[in-house]
């Protein structure tokens, strides 16, 4: 009667353990089912093609623009809009304006109409804006790990002038209007208290839902675009009648859609592989050592036995 009882006990243990081992599978299926619809649609979104520079930064490829990048500099141009966007890296001490001018193939001689530093989620950016007559230039740069990374935008259309500043978010409300107005004042277009009532709309672009405010300043149409991004507002100011949404989107896509710097961490990869190898060597070595010692013991014992 003792035996019979242990018989079913064993089966119960084995059944229980099998159930336990099956649990991870169940749990993972459950996790897959549990994903909400929002996440599912996010997963189905087309993958972003990336330009990856030898200098360690990555930017999304602007698929509707002409890609003339080389292995160090990302370069996209749009002949219809007469606009170019460039991203490059250089030495820490280099002047961002010179670097941007060279990369863009433009000459920048004037003093910047506006420049400052902005703290964003991914570090401190220095921004400069130039008005070279027909050409209007926006340059962002930041220093990280001993290199200066520069993102520059130039627009050569004589009909319009487009600048893309970042504005520190100092107000509480959700609206981006204060940022747009601040940018208009900073760029020297008009003082905030002189601005007329704007027409406000919402524009959906791939880089996000932007708020747009259109002002009529002394007969000139000035359109401001704003996107709330936590500590910073992304702003674009277009002076003139042309539709600037495409440029706004392309430039900010570069910034928001993932300009980021991946430093060279190959050393860590090798370290990891070395540790893995070391652990295997220790295991194998200890097995081999114990085996050898056992062999030795065995021959000693056998000798003793035969004596």
């Amino acid at each position: 009667m003792k035996n019979r009882q242990f018989g079913w006990a064993k089966w119960l243990i084995i059944g229980g353990m099998l159930l336990l081992v099956a649990l991870p599978l169940y749990a993972q299926e459950d996790a897959a089912e549990g994903s909400s619809d929002a996440e599912m649609s996010e997963e189905e979104a087309p993958e972003i093609p990336f330009y990856s520079s030898a200098d360690g930064f990555n930017v999304p490829v602007l698929t509707t623009w002409v890609d003339e990048s080389d292995d160090k500099t990302a370069f996209f141009l749009n002949p219809d809009l007469q606009a170019r966007i460039v991203t490059t890296a250089t030495g820490e001490g280099d002047d961002p304006t010179e670097v941007a001018a060279e990369a863009l193939g433009a000459t920048i001689t004037s003093e910047p109409i506006f420049s400052n530093r902005v703290n964003t989620a991914d570090g401190t950016w220095e921004q400069r804006y130039y008005d070279e007559g027909n050409s209007n230039v926006s340059i962002l740069s930041k220093i990280e790990e001993g290199r200066r990374y520069v993102i520059a935008f130039i627009e050569d259309d004589p009909e319009v002038a487009v600048y893309m500043p970042l504005v520190d978010r100092t107000w509480e409300e959700d609206t981006t209007l204060p940022g747009i107005e601040q940018a208009i004042e900073s760029l020297g277009i008009a003082a905030i208290d002189e601005l007329p009532e704007p027409t406000i709309e919402t524009v959906s672009l791939p880089s996000g839902d932007w708020e747009s405010a259109t002002y009529d300043i002394d007969g000139t149409t000035v359109t401001g675009y704003g996107l709330n991004f936590g500590v910073t507002d992304y702003v674009a100011i277009a002076i003139g009648d042309a539709d600037a949404t495409q440029m706004v989107d392309a430039y900010n896509y570069t910034l928001l859609g993932g300009f980021f710097i991946t430093s060279d961490n190959t050393a860590y990869l090798y370290l990891g592989l070395a540790v893995t190898a070391a652990i295997f060597i220790v295991l194998l070595g200890s097995i081999w050592l114990r085996w050898r010692n056992a062999r030795r013991d065995l021959s000693t014992v056998e000798q003793l036995a035969s004596d």
Binding site: M1, Q5, F6, A9, K10, L12, I13, G16, L20
Partner: protein, 225 residues
């Protein structure tokens, strides 16, 4: 021929309780340890109310875990001392009944220590710990600790470095129970809505059942020679 399962279980429980009432050996040592532990924690962690609220459940459960290790070591070695465990094995009884009897004894004693801890914590940390749900968690958590604890104490009592080995062997294995208990207690005393923490007692219940089944059936393998 075999003596009835429950008769054996309760005979052992009764014997252990009687011996404990006589000597108060376990309760005094564990109770004193619990008191010291709570005091030391409250001195060591000088905390404001909010910090106390998050720390108290950890303090309580760590104390319960270590107190139970002390108690389990004691309870098993008292069985070994006079060879009386052999006397249990000599009897025509189910091995699992022995386990259940020893387990119930340990469970009751550790639960008593836990019940002492609650008013103590309430007093020293100025947080109300005596609520029905905290009691439920206390019972469930100590149940889980006692099952594996009884099994592992029976095991380590037969090894060389018994006392040290019990804590090393037991703590990682009861960790899931401790984790769930701490989380549940923290949630309950900070007054979260029921649906935020109700899954913890459920998880505890499932773990208790799994541990109980495993320990119940493997105990026979631990004590035979």
């Amino acid at each position: 021929m075999k003596t009835g399962f429950w008769q054996v279980t309760f005979a052992i429980l009764r014997k252990d309780m009687l011996a404990e009432i006589r000597s108060r050996e376990l309760l005094s040592v564990m109770g004193l340890f619990a008191l010291l532990s709570v005091l030391i924690f409250s001195f060591a962690l000088e905390m404001d109310r909010e910090a106390r609220e998050t720390a108290i459940s950890g303090v309580i459960w760590v104390t319960v875990a270590f107190a139970s290790i002390i108690g389990l070591n004691r309870s098993m070695s008292s069985e070994r001392e006079q060879g009386s465990f052999d006397a249990l094995l000599l009897a025509p009884v189910d091995r699992s009944a022995l386990f259940l009897g020893k387990f119930l004894g340990n469970f009751v004693v550790v639960l008593l220590v836990g019940l002492i801890l609650l008013p103590l914590g309430t007093l020293l940390y100025n947080i109300t710990l005596i609520t029905p749900w905290v009691l439920v968690i206390l019972v469930l958590g100590i149940f889980g600790i006692s099952t594996t604890g009884t099994l592992l104490a029976a095991m380590t009592a037969q090894t060389r470095a018994r006392d040290a080995l019990l804590s090393i062997a037991m703590l990682p294995i009861v960790l899931p129970v401790l984790l769930a208990s701490v989380r549940a207690t923290t949630s309950i005393i900070s007054g979260d809505p029921t649906d935020l923490w109700i899954s913890w007692p459920q998880i505890l219940l499932v773990m208790d059942v799994i541990y109980m089944v495993l320990c119940f059936f493997t105990f026979g393998f631990i004590i035979e020679e």
